[in-house]
């Protein structure tokens, strides 16, 4: 059964030059079939040109209980956003 199989996180590159983005996960007995399952599950509507699969167990995640100390301090530091500059009119695409 799939619960006997390890879980793999799936990343898809939608086109050349863009980064791989996390799209979901699949169960599979090994890396090769994880790629096949990822291909069949997440790229059947032409979503991608490249796939990564990573064993979910290998991902190191931050502890939700630490969210306060990790992320809240950034909330009061709006000066870290580059919004206090006047952009000259000649500069496009910003």
């Amino acid at each position: 059964m799939s619960s006997d199989w390890p879980l793999w996180e799936v990343f898809v590159r939608s086109k050349g030059g863009l980064a791989h983005r996390h799209v979901g996960s699949v169960h599979a007995p090994d890396a090769e079939l994880a790629l096949a399952h990822a291909r069949d599950t997440y790229t059947r509507r032409m979503e991608g040109v490249s796939l990564w699969v990573v064993p979910s167990a290998e991902i190191v995640a931050s502890d939700p209980d630490q969210a306060g100390e990790l992320f809240e301090p950034a909330e009061s530091k709006i000066y870290r956003h580059p919004t206090f500059y006047d952009i000259p009119d000649e500069v496009k695409h910003i």
């Binding site: 059964m1 799939s2 199989w5 699949v26 169960h27 599979a28 007995p29 090994d30 090769e32 079939l33 096949a36 399952h37 069949d40 599950t41 059947r44």
Partner: protein, 247 residues
């Protein structure tokens, strides 16, 4: 409606189209019943590839929907291998390995067919079927070289389907005409390559080659196993009961 092929090209299109249609219908029977969600989706994708191929091939042979839904068993020209029942997952994989390895070699040749339609069709389908062959090989290796139970099931699945392999390399009068016309290859030209490719997968899967059995032929001439009628009944009942239904 009896459909008697009038020329070698139409006959050949029917053979390939019926192979894809019947195998596609068979594999689609797994939809909602796959052993795990990922395999369910994977099998449904394989079925859709095959039904897409059938749409193109039967559409070129005539009225695709009429050919698919309004012919009876005796008019179908598919090989016996593709109509064999799914059995368990291993038996389905065995059938897929044996058929798509053959189909992949055939499509590689057909890319050079003198027939423009067949050549263009093959260029598209060969990529799909390369994946089918690869996936079936990978699963054969994992099941054969897996647990005691999976190895036994894989061996039994191969054993069930093995007697239908010789038909893939049979050259009858109708195929001879298509070969002479330059639109189809003589399948015997890649039989040795086929046998050694299958042997390679079985070796890697730590499986013995099934014992040779009396070959069963006749599908190409409409002599089918009992299984095809049941498959057609499920596939055809709706358009036959409501011939003008649209959705």
């Amino acid at each position: 409606m009896a459909t008697v092929a009038v020329d070698p090209r139409t006959e050949y299109l029917l053979r390939l189209g019926d192979d894809s249609l019947v195998l596609g219908q068979r594999v689609s029977e797994w939809c909602g019943h796959g052993p795990v969600l990922e395999v369910d989706i994977s099998l449904a994708n394989l079925a859709l590839d095959l039904i897409g191929q059938a749409t193109l091939l039967l559409g070129e042979a005539g009225d695709g929907d009429k050919l698919a839904f309004h012919r009876d068993v005796l008019d179908f020209r598919n090989c016996l291998l593709v109509e064999q029942p799914n059995g368990d997952f291993a038996q389905t994989i065995a059938r897929h390995l044996l058929y798509t390895t053959w189909q992949h070699m055939l499509l590689q040749w057909l890319q050079q067919s003198s027939d423009k339609f067949l050549s263009e069709f093959a260029h598209k389908a060969v990529k799909e079927i390369a994946y089918h062959r690869e996936l079936a090989s990978e699963w054969t290796i994992r099941l054969g070289d897996g647990t005691e139970d999976s190895a036994r099931r894989m061996a039994e699945g191969l054993d069930w389907n093995w007697r239908f392999v010789p038909e893939l390399f049979e050259v009858d009068e109708a195929l001879r005409a298509a070969i002479d016309a330059g639109i189809a290859p003589d399948p015997r030209s890649f039989e040795e390559e086929y046998r050694s490719a299958i042997a390679g997968v079985l070796t890697e899967a730590k499986l013995d080659q099934p014992a040779e059995q009396r070959p069963i032929l006749g599908g190409r001439r409409g002599h089918h196993s009992e299984h095809l009628g049941h498959l057609l009944a499920v596939m055809q009942f709706l358009p036959r009961t409501y011939p003008d239904a649209t959705w």
